[in-house]
C-alpha cells in the first residue's frame, strides 16, 4: 500500500513526505514538460500556459470533489450531470434575477444533489456507484426537462468576471481553482471531519464503534463533491458564454482518472489534494501536447489510454 502509507504521514503537511511513486510521477510530468517545450516552441509560450491553466479548471474542480468522495471509499458518477445543470441554471436564470443570485441557486442545486447521494448511501448503506449512476441519469433527464436547448448569459459581467476575466495574465477561474486546492487539502488533513471521512473509507464499522457519527461525515463529502461540480459548471458556462444541456457527459471518468493517477485509491485509503493537482495537470498537458503536435485524434485517444496505464504502473502498489 505504498500510496496508503505515504499519502498519510502521522502529521500531514502540505508537502508531505512523498513516496517513490510520487517522485517518479513528478519526474515524468517534468520530463514531459521539458520534452514538449523543446519539441514545440508553442508550448512554453505565455499564451499556451494560460490556455492550459484555463483548461485545468473544469476537471480540477471535479477531481477535487471526486477525491473527497473517493477517500470515503465511494465514487460519484453524477458530477457530469450536476455540472451541466448548474451551468444551465446559472445562465438561464439570469433573465429572472441578478447573476449572483442565479449562481447561488446553481450551487445550492449541486449541494442538494450531493446531499441526496450521500444520504441515500449513508442512511440505507447502498453502493455509491449505483446510487450516483442513478442520480446521474435522473438529473440528466431532469435538466433536459428544464432546458433542452442552450442558454445564453444575459449579463455581460457574468462572463467578464468569471470566465473571461484575468488578473494580470492569470485567468480568474484558475485563481479560484488554485485557492480551492489548499482549502481541500486543509479539510482532508487538518479537520476532524476530513480525518473521520478518510478513516471510514477503509473501515466504516471500526469508525462507528469509536462513537463517530459516520453518516454526517460521509454525507458532507458528497455535498462538497456536488458543490464543487456545480462551481465547475458555472465557471464552464461563463467561460464559454453558453450553457448546453449536453455538456459534461463522461467528465466523471476524467475526474476519476485524475484522482487515481494522482495516487488515489478507489475503495478508500489513499489520495491527496496535491496528488490530484498532479493528475489533473498531467492529463491537461498530455491533451495540450498531443494537439500541439497535431497528433491525429484517433491516435490521441489511443495514446491517452496508454499514458494513463503507464501512469498507474509507475505508482503501483507492490503486491
Amino acid at each position: 500500500m505504498t500510496e496508503a502509507l505515504t499519502s498519510q504521514s502521522a502529521k500531514p503537511a502540505f508537502c508531505q513526505r512523498f513516496s517513490r511513486a510520487d517522485l517518479i510521477f513528478a519526474a515524468a510530468i517534468f520530463l514531459l514538460v521539458i520534452f514538449a517545450s523543446v519539441a514545440s516552441e508553442a508550448f512554453l509560450t505565455q499564451r499556451n500556459i494560460v490556455n492550459i491553466s484555463r483548461q485545468i479548471v473544469t476537471n480540477g474542480f471535479l477531481s477535487l470533489g471526486m477525491l473527497m468522495v473517493i477517500r470515503t471509499g465511494g465514487i460519484d458518477l453524477s458530477v457530469g450531470s450536476v455540472l451541466a445543470f448548474a451551468g444551465l441554471l446559472a445562465t438561464g436564470l439570469q433573465a429572472q434575477m441578478h447573476f449572483s443570485a442565479a449562481i447561488a441557486v446553481a450551487l445550492a442545486m449541486g449541494a442538494v444533489v450531493g446531499g441526496i447521494n450521500g444520504w441515500l448511501i449513508a442512511r440505507f448503506n447502498l453502493q455509491s456507484f449505483i446510487v450516483t449512476l442513478a442520480t446521474m441519469g435522473s438529473l440528466r433527464g431532469l435538466l433536459y426537462v428544464y432546458a433542452n436547448t442552450p442558454r445564453y448569459p444575459v449579463d455581460d459581467a457574468f462572463r467578464a468576471l468569471l470566465g473571461g476575466g484575468s488578473i494580470g495574465p492569470v485567468p480568474v477561474n484558475f485563481i479560484l481553482f488554485a485557492l480551492t486546492v489548499p482549502t481541500v487539502w486543509f479539510y482532508l488533513n487538518h479537520t476532524v471531519s476530513g480525518r473521520a471521512a478518510f478513516a471510514l473509507g477503509v473501515n466504516k464499522e471500526a469508525v462507528r464503534l469509536a462513537g463517530v457519527n459516520v453518516g454526517k461525515h460521509l454525507i458532507f463529502a458528497y455535498v462538497a463533491c456536488g458543490l464543487l461540480a456545480a462551481i465547475a459548471g458555472v465557471l464552464l458556462a461563463s467561460r464559454l458564454g453558453i450553457a448546453q444541456p449536453s455538456v459534461g457527459v463522461g467528465y466523471e471518468l476524467d475526474a476519476i482518472a485524475a484522482v487515481v493517477i494522482g495516487g488515489g485509491l478507489l475503495g478508500g485509503g489513499g489520495g491527496t489534494a496535491i496528488g490530484v493537482l498532479g493528475g489533473v495537470l498531467a492529463l491537461a498537458v498530455v491533451d495540450n501536447v498531443l494537439n500541439l503536435f497535431n497528433v491525429d485524434s484517433y491516435y490521441q485517444q489511443l495514446l491517452k489510454g496508454l499514458i494513463i496505464l503507464v501512469a498507474v504502473l509507475a505508482r503501483r502498489k507492490r503486491a
Binding site: M1, A4, A10, H190, V192, R195, F198, L209, G211
Partner: protein
C-alpha cells in the same frame, strides 16, 4: 462508586439465539471474568454493553439507574470503553489518530486537528501503559499484530474509563506484554473502575479476576467469587464434563528428515536461520511476539520468500516462490492472522474450508459439490464448529469458531508432509484446544512433520519434542522439551539471565 447490573439480556441473530437470558452485577473496582466455550455468547454480551449491538430484551443499569445504550456513542458517554476481540484499528492512520479517533483534540473553533497535542496524549498513554517504544506517529499498518493489540488496548485507556471491557486481549500477546496489561488492569480496578475480562487462558482468569461468570449456550451456568472456585470447576461448567488430560500421550518415532532450513535470511525479519524437522516430529517454535517466527514460516511457505538461504524438502531444494508451489509439494500452513489472511469473511464456511482442498473434490476443474460438502460437514462435526452447517458467512461465526474453520481448511488437505501451525489455538476454548492438540499429535503419529509456532508456553512445552527459540529474528536456542523448565525457555526468549527472568515470571 459505579455499579453495573445486567438483567435478563437476550439477543438472537435472525432466529438463532446467541444469548438466551443473562443477568449479573459487578461492583466498582471489581474484575469480572467471563468464560465459556466458543460461541457461548461472551462477545455478543460485551457488544451489547458497548453499544455495538442492541439487545432484543433485558435491561442494563448503571449505579442502579437503568440506561439505554443505543449506540457506541452512548456507551462512550457512560464511560464504557471496549477492546473488541477482532482488531478494529485503521491501518492507514497513525497510532495517535487511531487511539483518539472520535475525540481528536482540536484548536481553531474545534475545526482543526491539534496534531501535537494528539501525539503527546497518545505518547503519554502508551508510556504509562508501559510501551514507550511505540511511536504515536507511525502508521498502525506498519506494526505487527502484537503491537497493534497494544494500541487497541491503549485506545481504550485514553479517556479514563469507568467500565473497561477486554475481549480476549491477550490472545496475541506474550508473557511480558500480558504482565504489563495485568498491571494496568489492577491499577484501574484499584481506582474504582469496573473491568469485564474475557479470556480462554483460564490461568489468567485466576490471576486477576475477583468474580467469574461462566456462559454456556447463551446462559450463565456458573457464577461466583474466584476464591470459591477452582480450575476444574470452571472447566466442567464450561465444557459440561471434566477434562482429564490436556496434552495427549505421544508415541514418538522420529522418521526421516523432512524439512531442512539453511542460512535463511530476510532483511528486516530474520537472519541465518538453520533448523530441521523430521517426519513424525513436533518441533515447537517459541519466542516473544515480534521475534520473527511468522516471517520464517511465511518464507518457508513461499508467502514472502527469503532473500537467500536454502530450504530442502526431503532432501530436495525447495525455495518456494509462491504458496501454490509449496502446497503442491505437501506443505500446509495455518496462518496467524485469521482475519487478514486466513479467511474470506463474507464467503461461506463451505467456501473457506474447501479453499485448499480443491484437488480432492474436483476432476478437470469440475467440482463434485456433494463430496465437497460431505467432507466439510464431517470436519464441522469433528471440530464441533458452531453453529452447525456450512452455508453462513464465516463473519457470523464467533472468533474461536472462525479459528477452527482456518484449521479445518488445512486438515482437509490430503497427504501433507509438513504442517506449519502459527498460533493455532488463538481464541479457541479449552475443550477445543484439547481436540486440536490431539489432532496435531495424530498428524505426527501418522508421520507428518509439524512445526508449531506458539506464544503459549504450556502449549509448546506440552506438545513439542524439540523447541526452537527465536529472539529478534535469530534462532537463539534449540532445546529438548523433556522436563524443561519454563523459566529457562522464557529467559532464552527474552534474553535475560535466569535469575531476573524468574522474578519477572512470578
Amino acid at each position: 462508586m459505579p455499579h453495573l447490573a445486567v438483567k435478563n439480556i437476550a439477543k438472537s441473530f435472525d432466529g438463532n439465539p446467541a444469548i438466551v437470558d443473562i443477568s449479573f452485577a459487578v461492583e466498582a473496582g471489581q474484575v469480572l471474568a467471563l468464560c465459556g466455550e466458543n460461541g457461548a455468547g461472551k462477545s455478543t454480551l460485551m457488544k451489547i454493553l458497548s453499544g455495538a449491538l442492541r439487545p432484543d430484551s433485558g435491561e442494563i443499569s448503571l449505579d442502579d439507574k437503568p440506561v439505554q445504550i443505543g449506540g457506541p456513542a452512548d456507551a462512550m458517554a457512560l464511560g464504557i470503553r471496549t477492546v473488541y476481540q477482532e482488531l478494529s484499528l485503521l491501518p492507514h492512520l497513525s497510532v495517535a489518530e487511531n487511539m483518539l479517533l472520535g475525540r481528536m483534540p482540536t484548536r481553531g473553533f474545534g475545526v482543526a486537528v491539534d496534531w501535537n497535542t494528539a501525539n503527546r496524549i497518545a505518547g503519554r498513554v502508551l508510556a504509562e501503559f508501559g510501551f514507550p517504544g511505540i511511536d504515536p506517529r507511525t502508521l498502525v499498518g506498519a506494526l505487527g499484530v502484537a503491537q497493534q493489540q497494544i494500541v487497541e488496548i491503549a485506545k481504550a485507556l485514553v479517556s479514563d474509563p469507568k467500565i473497561l471491557i477486554l475481549d480476549e486481549p491477550t490472545a496475541v500477546l506474550s508473557a511480558s506484554e500480558t504482565e504489563k496489561l495485568f498491571a494496568s488492569v489492577q491499577q484501574l480496578a484499584a481506582g474504582g473502575v469496573i473491568v469485564l475480562y474475557i479470556s480462554h487462558r483460564l490461568e489468567e482468569i485466576f490471576e486477576i479476576a475477583d468474580q467469574v461468570v461462566v456462559l454456556k449456550d447463551g446462559q450463565s451456568v456458573l457464577e461466583g467469587r474466584i476464591a470459591t472456585l477452582d480450575l476444574a470447576r470452571v472447566i466442567e461448567a464450561m465444557v459440561g464434563r471434566p477434562l482429564e488430560t490436556i496434552y495427549p500421550q505421544r508415541n514418538r518415532q522420529r522418521g526421516k528428515v523432512v524439512l531442512e532450513v539453511e542460512k535463511l535470511n530476510q532483511t528486516g525479519a530474520f537472519v541465518d536461520i538453520n533448523f530441521s524437522v523430521h517426519a513424525g516430529e513436533i518441533v515447537g517454535m517459541f519466542g516473544l511476539v515480534g521475534s520473527g517466527r511468522t516471517e520464517v514460516a511465511k518464507a518457508i511457505f513461499g508467502a514472502c520468500p527469503a532473500d537467500d538461504g536454502t530450504v530442502r524438502l526431503k532432501g530436495v531444494v525447495a525455495n518456494f516462490r509462491t504458496p501454490a508451489l509449496a502446497v503442491a509439494s505437501g506443505l500446509a500452513m495455518i496462518t496467524e492472522d485469521r482475519k487478514g489472511d486466513g479467511l474470506a469473511l463474507e464467503a461461506s464456511v463451505l467456501d473457506n474450508m474447501g479453499l485448499a482442498s480443491f484437488l480432492r473434490v474436483s476432476r478437470f476443474g469440475l467440482l463434485d459439490g456433494a463430496k465437497r460438502r460431505a467432507i466439510v460437514d464431517e470436519k464441522v462435526r469433528e471440530l464441533s464448529i458452531r453453529p452447525r452447517g456450512h452455508a453462513r458467512p464465516v463473519r457470523q461465526l464467533s472468533g474461536g469458531n472462525q479459528q477452527k474453520v482456518v484449521i479445518a481448511k488445512w486438515l482437509l488437505v490430503e497427504n501433507t508432509e509438513l504442517f506449519i501451525f502459527d498460533e493455532p489455538t488463538r481464541g479457541v476454548d479449552i475443550a477445543t484446544k484439547v481436540e486440536i492438540y490431539q489432532m496435531i499429535a495424530d498428524l505426527a503419529a501418522n508421520g507428518v512433520a509439524v512445526l508449531l509456532i506458539s506464544s503459549e508456553m504450556p502449549e509448546v512445552l506440552g506438545l513439542s519434542d524439540r523447541l526452537l527459540i527465536m529472539r529478534e529474528g535469530r534462532l537463539v536456542a534449540e532445546l529438548m522439551t523433556d522436563d524443561l523448565r519454563p523459566e529457562i525457555v522464557f529467559a532464552q526468549a527474552a534474553g535475560l539471565t535466569l535469575h531476573e527472568s524468574s522474578e519477572r515470571l512470578n
